[in-house]
């Protein structure tokens, strides 16, 4: 198995955000994790990406336990996450964002030899490769028009897409997306879907979390439903959607 979560638990001062959760993801899959607001989805991604340390349980990536590792080490190992609310380097341009996000690419290509590029920028064609990759990602994410715009001036949809674009620059093997479609208009969602399908066709494994099922239903091979941090259903999106416990969880939220 490419990726596995076993008995993962996270408690904050008595509140259990993730409760004894276990699931796995195979190479090339798109797995959707959904649940109502406050069901522990974002906490789950933060745990996987190393931004939080779990209270108990294991996270296994390529047969290596990674729970509690530093975010940058996890990213370097190939697991990259995006943020629900886009996190950006406000005053930099879109292209500069991608060049920063290309850090891992340089690191993988050159290793310690990247120190040499400080004196000779052309070492190993690193700079040129990076720029080419950034241009490709811009095209894929349809951000070419905004290339030299400062991130502070982007629309919300563009900001979210830039988040995905930066994650792509990290050349992830497992990409974790935190509510990528929330706040987007229909054309932007279609654009996003196209990008994600393209990623899958190139062998990237995806784990997408969202609170509404619609977007995930079309895209995911498999769905997992969370409620109060615990898994209440797993299966094809259609199966999970019709699971009575899932319906109850959503209904419960509507009544609350």
């Amino acid at each position: 198995m490419l990726f596995e979560v076993a008995n993962l638990t996270k408690r904050f001062d008595g509140l259990t955000a993730v409760a004894d959760l276990s699931f796995s993801i195979a190479h090339g899959e798109i797995v959707g994790v959904f649940g109502p607001n406050g069901s522990g989805k974002t906490t789950l991604l933060s745990l996987i990406a190393g931004m939080l340390v779990p209270t108990a349980g294991r996270i296994v990536w390529k047969d290596r336990e990674i729970q509690g590792a530093k975010p940058h080490d996890i990213a370097a190992a190939g697991v990259v996450k995006t943020f629900q609310n886009p996190q950006l380097f406000a005053e930099l341009s879109v292209f500069e964002h991608l060049m920063i996000a290309g850090h891992l690419m340089l690191k993988r290509r050159l290793g310690w030899r990247r120190a040499a590029t400080l004196f000779n920028p052309d070492t190993g064609h690193a700079g040129a490769d990076l720029e080419k990759r950034a241009t490709d990602v811009l095209r894929l994410c349809r951000l070419e028009a905004a290339r030299d715009q400062a991130a502070a001036g982007l629309s919300y949809g563009e900001e979210k897409m830039l988040g995905v674009a930066m994650a792509l620059m990290c050349e992830p093997e497992l990409l974790l997306l935190d509510e990528p479609a929330s706040g987007l208009g229909q054309p932007e969602i279609e654009n996003l879907e196209a990008v994600l399908r393209d990623l899958r066709s190139h062998g990237t494994t995806l784990c997408v979390i969202d609170h509404k099922v619609g977007f995930l239903g079309k895209l995911a091979d498999r769905a997992i439903s969370l409620h109060h941090g615990a898994k209440i259903a797993e299966g094809t999106p259609a199966q999970v959607l019709n699971d009575p416990r899932v319906i109850a969880a959503y209904l419960g939220q509507h009544h609350a």
Partner: protein
């Protein structure tokens, strides 16, 4: 391009300006400018308000002298040893601060604390540092000149060129760093370190890199400055010295590698150009600091660049 022109202008200046007074001011400005440019790597580019700068500067000044007198090394070897010492200290202080994720005010306070501890040691280690009185340096470093061989580094004109070259090299090194992938890591840390972390940037490593490089530049400056001035005293390591560097960077501008040199020029030249007592000088210095922050937060360079852009549009 503008930098090359500026460097050429300064290189030719002594042909026109023969005043020892003006050239002396410029030597001090170049050296302090070098200090400020190095500090700006940490402060302006990586976003960490370090107060360790005066310590790096002062420790190196003392260490250069001590290695010369106790081990009989040359000035340049002494400077190398002093820089190695500052490198080691910076790694220790930086590791402590960054491992414990001290940020903003807390980082400033802890680096200040280490800097003060260093000053107290220098102040009280009378047998070695001569305490409050400081040390008079009579020796001058040797340098090799084409056609003349090894000569003593003496006189304002020679120091003028040595400090100009040192400043130019500092600016070149910093430009290289800032425009490289490492400079992008610095920017990521300054603007959003959490995001940088998830993008695979080892925030700790590059914070430390900026801190260490900045302090080594300070260390090199420390040796040169002390031997040009001809004396060392514990005030080299004072809080006021650290703050003076911050003021130069703010006044010159944080956003460009060489901009702090403008601040160094103004703050070094101004007190000498208009004759003021120490008290009035302190008032003027304070007023400049306050007015810069409130009215010109981008510094002289940033403000001029902004005006230039507006005119172009």
């Amino acid at each position: 391009m503008r930098l090359v022109l500026a460097a050429a202008a300064f290189a030719l200046l002594p042909l026109v300006v023969k005043s020892d007074f003006i050239l002396t001011i410029l030597v001090f400005s170049f050296l302090l400018g070098m200090l400020a440019v190095g500090f700006n790597l940490i402060f302006g580019y990586t976003g960490q308000l370090s107060m360790f700068h005066a310590a790096a500067f002062g420790i190196s000044a003392y260490a250069t002298y001590l290695s010369m007198t106790h081990w009989g090394t040359s000035f340049w070897t002494g400077m190398l040893i002093a820089s190695a010492l500052v490198l080691a200290l910076s790694v220790i202080v930086g590791t402590i601060c960054f491992r414990f994720r001290l940020k903003e005010f807390y980082f400033a306070v802890v680096t200040l604390a280490f800097s003060e501890m260093a000053r107290l040691v220098v102040l009280n280690w009378n047998g070695v540092t001569n305490g409050t009185l400081g040390i008079i340096l009579q020796e001058k470093p040797n340098i090799w000149l084409p056609g003349q061989g090894l000569v003593k580094l003496e006189g304002t004109l020679m120091w003028y060129y040595v400090s100009l070259v040192a400043l130019a090299l500092t600016v070149i090194v910093c430009l290289r760093l800032v425009n490289s992938w490492m400079g992008r890591c610095f920017a990521a840390i300054r603007l959003n370190d959490e995001l940088g972390d998830t993008l695979g940037i080892n925030v700790f490593r590059y914070k430390l890199a900026a801190f260490v490089v900045g302090n080594i530049i300070a260390a090199i400056t420390g040796g040169l400055y002390a031997f040009y001035l001809g004396s060392i005293e514990p005030g080299f390591l004072s809080i006021d010295q650290s703050l003076a560097i911050v003021a130069m960077v703010l006044l010159g501008g944080r956003g460009a590698v060489a901009a702090p040199v403008i601040g160094a020029l103004v703050l070094t030249a101004l007190p000498h150009m208009i004759h003021l007592g120490a008290e009035l000088r302190s008032i003027v210095y304070g007023a400049i600091l306050i007015l810069t922050i409130l009215l010109m937060p981008q510094g002289i360079y940033g403000t001029l660049a902004l005006l230039g852009r507006r005119r172009a549009v």
